[in-house]
């Protein structure tokens, strides 16, 4: 059984300037991490889940403030929870942007991980501070990670889809700007026949030296920058949807995940930005399209420009070649993201997007003071 939120690509499959060091890094310890994709779909045995890995790369303890954003939608007609409009009886699935925050305390060089569907209870933490302490007395005491998602009757169980942001904080909870965090997320699915696992790195924003002022506005790039800027362009190399895997013969599809850099967790007002897509095939021919992003975007590539996926510019039958390069630019704000590639119904791979350049305008993450 294929999970509903992966059905975005499955539907399509059935149908057939140099970046500087001052934008995001997914391979270096950072002060602010964005896990662009967290998903849970638990409906009895099988389903999908996400393993979140978070590590402290320094020899000092660090406190980390995290925000889950659950973008699970609501059907416009029934109000039921939905991953996409396919889950609604005729209405449109409108994404919600529900935020949940929590704090994690990491001891020196400590790796920690949790299952998004379960979180971490106090009994799960490795160094509880009572019976177990680390070198120098540090511990994970105070760490609580809530389960991600909601219990939904119409989706058959626990469900959620969205992102996770984590940043280093001082003992008083103010942003600390310590570049000591690294992370990965693993998307895991299973059904009665097979398992699927894809893994990618969390996107990192490094704090600039002596720049983090400790207020509740995390400024990414631009004037008054505290952290690295968001990239000017995201670059995705991909097989066009519906291309035939030359090895297995399976149809290939790619789901794109985008998260806006600017977010306001205080007002919970989603940030809408138009996104421009520039697509090149192997003949150097160029296509383009655009679509908006609110608080979270998750679509199969060939659903971005049209509901008829065989007519999409991201379809191999339209593009004319197997692979393409898509350059993605947020018009009113920066974006980060990841990609999930499906080969047939049985296998997936997650990978990080490339970047080019950096935004000269600030993006701001506003957190609760």
């Amino acid at each position: 059984m294929r999970t509903r939120w992966w059905g975005v690509s499955a539907l399509g499959l059935v149908l057939a300037s140099i970046g500087h060091a001052d934008t995001i890094v997914s391979d270096q310890p950072s002060a602010l991490l964005v896990y662009p994709f967290v998903a849970v779909e638990r409906n009895g045995l099988g389903g999908a889940d996400t393993i979140i890995e978070l590590s402290n790369t320094s020899d000092q303890p660090v406190a980390v403030k995290c925000y889950y954003v659950n973008a699970l939608g609501r059907c416009s007609d029934t109000g039921d929870a939905c991953f996409s409009s396919l889950d609604c009886e005729g209405g449109v699935c409108s994404p919600q942007c529900a935020e949940t925050d929590f704090t994690v305390y990491l001891t020196p060089f400590q790796p920690i991980a949790w299952l998004a569907s379960k979180g971490l209870a106090s009994s799960d933490i490795p160094l509880d501070g009572v019976f177990r302490r680390g070198i120098g007395g540090s511990s994970n005491a105070g760490t609580r990670v809530p389960a991600f998602g909601i219990d939904s009757v119409n989706l058959g169980g626990q469900a959620g889809i969205g992102e996770l942001k984590c940043y280093t904080v001082n003992p008083d909870g103010t942003p600390a700007g310590r570049n000591v965090l690294k992370g990965h997320f693993s998307v895991v699915g299973s059904d009665s026949a097979r398992i699927q696992v894809g893994k990618a790195s969390a996107v990192g924003f490094r704090a600039l030296p002596e720049a983090v002022d400790g207020d509740n506005r995390l400024v990414l790039g631009g004037e008054g920058a505290e952290y690295d800027a968001c990239p000017a362009v995201l670059v995705l190399d991909h097989f066009f949807d519906g291309a035939t895997d030359p090895v297995s013969g399976n149809a290939i599809g790619t789901d794109l995940v985008l998260v806006p850099c600017t977010q306001n967790f205080l007002t919970q007002a989603p940030t809408r930005t138009p996104v421009q897509y520039l697509v090149f095939n192997e003949f150097e021919q160029r296509f383009s399209t655009s679509a908006p992003v609110d608080c979270f975007f998750f679509e199969g590539l060939s659903s971005i420009d049209t509901p008829n996926r065989v007519r999409s510019i991201f379809s191999a039958a339209v593009a004319g070649t197997m692979t393409g390069q898509t350059r993605i630019r947020g018009v009113r704000g920066g974006l980060v993201g990841t990609a999930i590639e499906f080969h047939g119904l049985g296998s997936l791979a997650a990978f990080n997007l490339h970047v080019a350049g950096f935004r000269t305008e600030s993006d701001v993450i506003t957190v609760a003071p």
Partner: protein
């Protein structure tokens, strides 16, 4: 052109350990275009059983608005007889095969490693009635097929129209590993041309330094600062440095996958495979060198372990094959058969102090579900710091000429 690939034994060049005083180098990247792209793990295994076949698909893209050319090297580290165990009578091949590719502006391309790619302008394009269009698009050049049972790496170096290396920073890439119906994918590691650097276009590529550009006895010597060149300065930087430390977060080998266990797909186990390619390679003299690597591991209880191993030319091994119980789930237990539950480890890997070479690496997790099948997930590692000693890639001089239209 073929040759036996070995790594350089000693630098034999004047290099001062002065730190990177004049070289504010940004290191390597998995998400930026670079002037050298490295695919550390390229595997082909043509098994009679389709479920056991392994194939790799390479994707390379020119992200610039100018034509980009690249000179690429496959390095085959497969055993001489893949059906026999390794040993003195069955050494790895260490065989190198090189070729050139040519990409128009913003052009993506791909090929299947076992088949390569032919040049045929009459390749059919994809269309609603034609899904058999694997070679559609501008052919990047003749990409040779590799030998069956290929295990090794692919390096592509951006060159100009004359075939001389340039700091174009136009190349990016991904590798897709396909095993039966399973797929995993990682980003190629890009080594950027040094910021403000001027590649001298010769056959010695210096990572984390450059060459003395002036006249004098030290002209052409590897350097990291003007002071290294004496009167033969300035020191003209070429490429960014290889990382000093690689950081891998992983499950202890043999630990269960908690998601699969919860979904009822257990019992499960996860094993992590590490693939290592050297930064320094000499395709000219083919002098072999061993790189000693130090592994420092922390578990969730902040307990620390260490282990070391040596890699020659190319290495691919499961962490549990390093011989340390500390890297296994079993080894996390104070009491036999009673794991304490610290499944997650952080391992920091660096070249040993006496090893003057850096390394590049990727990891791949194998998730085993006893009632179901396996799934693999490749991942890129994190890095910290840059090596203060340059690494050098040496290309045979006669290869620095254009062989593509």
């Amino acid at each position: 052109m073929q040759g036996r690939c070995r790594r350089v034994g000693t630098l034999g060049l004047v290099v001062s350990i002065l730190g990177l005083s004049s070289a504010a180098l940004a290191g390597v990247s998995i998400e930026r275009s670079g002037s050298i792209v490295v695919f550390p793990k390229v595997i082909v295994n043509a098994s009679a059983d389709p479920a056991n076949t392994v194939e790799t698909i390479i994707q390379i893209t020119n992200t610039s608005n100018s034509v980009a050319r690249a000179h690429c090297f496959y390095v085959n580290a497969a055993l001489t007889d893949p059906n026999q165990p390794p040993g003195p009578m069955n050494p790895p091949l260490w065989q190198e095969v090189d070729f050139d590719i040519h990409l128009t502006r913003q052009q993506p391309t791909y090929w299947q490693v076992s088949k390569g790619r032919l040049v045929n302008p009459l390749d059919p394009v994809c269309g609603p009635a034609n899904a058999d269009c694997g070679d559609a698009g501008f052919d990047p050049g003749r990409v040779p097929p590799v030998l069956p049972d290929f295990r090794g790496e692919l390096k592509c170096i951006q060159v100009d129209d004359s075939g001389a290396p340039v700091n174009g920073n136009s190349l990016k890439g991904e590798a897709t590993m396909i095993r039966g119906d399973d797929v995993s994918k990682y980003n190629a590691i890009a080594i950027l041309g040094a910021e403000d650097g001027l590649n001298n276009g010769d056959n010695v590529l210096v990572l984390g330094g450059g060459q003395c550009a002036g006249e004098g006895p030290l002209k052409g010597a590897v350097c990291i600062a003007d002071a290294d060149c004496e009167e033969a300065g300035p020191c003209v930087l070429e490429y960014n440095a290889c990382p000093q430390t690689w950081i891998l977060d992983h499950l202890a080998d043999g630990a269960p996958n908690p998601a699969l266990e919860q979904m009822g797909a257990g019992p499960s186990a996860v094993f992590t495979e590490l693939t290592i390619a050297p930064c320094t390679e000499n395709f000219e003299t083919q002098v072999p060198t061993r790189v000693t690597l130090q592994f420092l591991t922390w578990n969730e209880f902040e307990s620390q372990f260490s282990v070391s191993t040596s890699v020659e030319c190319w290495g691919n091994f499961a962490l549990s094959d390093l011989g340390s119980l500390a890297l296994t789930f079993e080894g996390q237990s104070d009491v036999p058969d009673l794991p304490l539950g610290t499944m997650y480890l952080q391992t920091r890997i660096r070249a040993a102090g006496g090893t003057p070479f850096g390394v590049l690496m990727v990891a791949e997790e194998r998730h085993i579900s006893d009632p179901l099948d396996d799934a693999w997930a490749a991942m890129n590692l994190h890095v910290e710091g840059e090596r203060s000693v340059p690494d050098v890639i040496t290309i045979p001089g006669e290869q620095l000429s254009s062989s593509q239209p």
